[in-house]
């Protein structure tokens, strides 16, 4: 599993505007499955990683560790639960 910080305009990898991840599935375990974190803190299918691989210049994707991803998600949970 690989995690990415989605760094939108004006953001940094430490304070991204979203998270994406690629996991592998399939019979041989080599088929990539891409997902992004939603506002409900669920992972849903998303093409952010593929678009980035095809030269998308909107947001940058920066690889991060699972621990960093978990920390960011936890921070958002608190922030959004507070109505932010």
């Amino acid at each position: 599993m690989t995690y990415y910080a989605i760094v939108g305009s004006g953001r940094t990898a430490q304070a991204p505007s979203g998270l994406a991840r690629r996991r592998y599935a399939g019979r041989d375990g080599r088929t990539p499955v891409d997902e992004a974190l939603r506002r409900e803190l669920t992972w849903e299918p998303d093409s952010a990683i593929v678009e980035w691989e095809f030269g998308e210049v909107g947001a940058d994707l920066v690889e991060i560790s699972e621990a960093v991803a978990a920390r960011l998600a936890a921070g958002w949970r608190v922030l959004w639960d507070d109505g932010g």
């Binding site: 989605i6 939108g8 305009s9 004006g10 953001r11 991204p16 505007s17 979203g18 994406a20 599935a25 399939g26 088929t31 990539p32 499955v33 891409d34 992004a36 974190l37 939603r38 506002r39 409900e40 669920t42 849903e44 299918p45 998303d46 093409s47 952010a48 593929v50 678009e51 691989e53 095809f54 030269g55 998308e56 210049v57 909107g58 947001a59 940058d60 958002w76 922030l79 959004w80 932010g84």
Partner: protein, 503 residues
């Protein structure tokens, strides 16, 4: 006359002093008008410039002939008015029809079109309205537009994709935008890949506009104030060998020997056409292709697109002046030693409204920590340009274009060199226009890489569709890579590094 000698040609007397018959006056030779026409003429004579007062009364008795005659006062409306003679006899003439006729003599045609009342607009030929901005079709909302309240700053919660009662895998399998693998390989029409997509517009991807009709079309730029003639500006190569009608990629080594990409799979994007029409609800909400915007988000998108429209530079008359991004791009193009913009840049630079909203809907889901207002300004390809260079001059031409862009006051924010990748070929960049405080995209291609991206656009859309099953996506990506492998890599392109502005 009386004093002239008899026999003089102008004398009223003959040589024998007998009086000549009186000279006939031309007006006395005219035949009298029919009684009903005399009445009509009399009425028109007094109302020619006062349509509001008398046109309704006149409409009840006006004949097709007189309607056509009145309409012929303006060349713009003549064709449409005479093409519907039967209609003219059965429905009242527009109240301001005479006013339009008089106005047309002094106003540009485009302005007249913009000012036409709705009834008059229906009488115009289709081309008369093609410059009006596209608008979403307003329809009654379907039940699928109902969703849970957002309850979040960017409204991302409860969107159709997320709120679906199906699990993620189920939803992937119920998507119906792809044909089967067997069908893909059986398809032989490459045009379906290129231009067969609903709306003929891209989804805001990193790829270029999918409309390729402009390859041979005449750009509207020739009609603009600056008067840059693309025919003369045309192929910017030193020997003048390259042109849009005969792109030089046909000669590039290896292309003809490459795998036959024309028989590669294509996507029938029209399959779901009936259900994929953009829908705008009476409350202003919007949905399309499984995306949804609340009324507020849709309004935000409209405002952002309005900013793009202003920045792009097309004026209300459909032409261009000096200001705006497109005129600036054309000036930059004119300064380049090699390369040119896409010939139909004026028609493709501005993203279509529904594609813009589709993009915003994706961004809202993907960037949960950003507001819809922020994200609307992050749609970097609301305005997009593409420069095309021949392979020989690609690298230096791209750098020269960068230099001209910077010299024109634009700030480079991101550049991605994708030539070394196995799929998309080209260089994409994001720039900021300080004058309008918005970002736009510029792509740098060879004719071959541009052509490949257009041929594979349907594939790209399927690949980046979140509903495409992972196995299918992997298969489509391998096909895309196979197509791209045939694109010659221009010399020196690897020397152009990626770039991302700090902060």
């Amino acid at each position: 006359m009386e004093r002239l000698p008899p026999g003089h040609p102008s004398s009223p007397y003959n040589d024998d002093m007998t009086p000549k018959p009186p000279v006939a006056r031309l007006k006395n030779l005219e035949l009298p008008l029919h009684s009903t026409e005399q009445g009509s003429s009399a009425a028109n004579a007094g109302t020619e410039h006062e349509p509001a007062r008398n046109s309704r009364a006149e409409a009840s008795t006006v004949s097709p002939a007189s309607t056509s005659a009145a309409a012929s006062a303006t060349s713009t409306l003549a064709a449409s008015a005479t093409s519907l003679p039967s209609e003219s006899t059965t429905r009242p003439a527009p109240e301001n029809s005479t006013g339009l006729a008089s106005e047309s003599a002094t106003r540009p045609a485009s302005e007249r079109t913009a000012r036409l009342p709705s009834e008059s607009t229906t009488r115009l030929p289709p081309e008369s309205t093609t410059r009006l901005p596209p608008e979403s079709t307003t329809r009654l909302p379907s039940e699928s537009t109902t969703r849970a309240g957002a309850g979040s700053s960017n409204g991302a919660a409860g969107r159709s994709r997320v709120a679906s009662p199906l699990g993620a895998t189920d939803r992937l399998l119920t998507r119906n935008i792809l044909v089967s693998a067997a069908q893909l390989y059986e398809t032989e029409e490459p045009d379906a890949v290129i231009g067969g997509l609903p709306g003929g517009e891209t989804d805001g991807s990193a790829e270029g506009p999918d409309e390729v009709s402009g390859w041979l079309s005449t750009p509207t730029w020739a009609d603009t104030e600056l008067g840059v003639d693309d025919a003369s500006a045309g192929p910017a190569t030193e020997d003048g060998s390259a042109s849009w009608s005969t792109p030089d990629w046909d000669d590039t080594p290896g292309w003809d020997d490459a795998p036959d990409t024309l028989t590669h799979p294509t996507i029938d994007a029209d399959q779901d056409h009936a259900t994929d029409e953009p829908l705008t609800g009476p409350d202003g909400s919007w949905e399309w292709n499984g995306r949804y915007l609340t009324p507020e988000e849709s309004r935000i998108a409209d405002e952002a697109l309005g900013r793009c429209r202003i920045a792009e530079g097309r004026n209300v008359f459909g032409g261009y002046g000096h200001s705006g991004l497109t005129p600036a791009m054309r000036r930059i193009e004119a300064q380049l030693e090699h390369g040119q913009l896409l010939p139909d840049t004026e028609n493709t630079a501005l993203k279509q409204a529904d594609s813009f909203k589709e993009k915003l809907a994706d961004l809202i889901m993907r960037h949960p920590d950003k507001s819809a207002e922020e994200l609307a300004l992050d749609v970097h390809d609301g305005i997009r340009y593409a420069f095309i260079f021949d392979s020989e001059h690609y690298a230096d031409g791209t750098l020269q274009a960068h230099s001209r862009l910077k010299g024109s006051g634009f700030d480079l924010e991101v550049r991605r060199n994708c030539w070394q990748g196995s799929e998309y070929k080209g260089i994409n960049s994001r720039w900021r226009d300080p004058a309008h405080d918005l970002v736009f995209e510029v792509q740098f291609h060879t004719a071959a890489s541009w052509d490949a991206s257009q041929r594979a656009h349907g594939l790209y859309q399927a690949i980046t569709d979140a509903g495409t099953p992972p196995e299918e996506r992997a298969r489509l990506r391998s096909i895309y890579a196979e197509m791209s492998a045939a694109v010659p890599v221009p010399r020196g392109c690897a020397t152009i590094p990626d770039f991302r502005k700090e902060g």
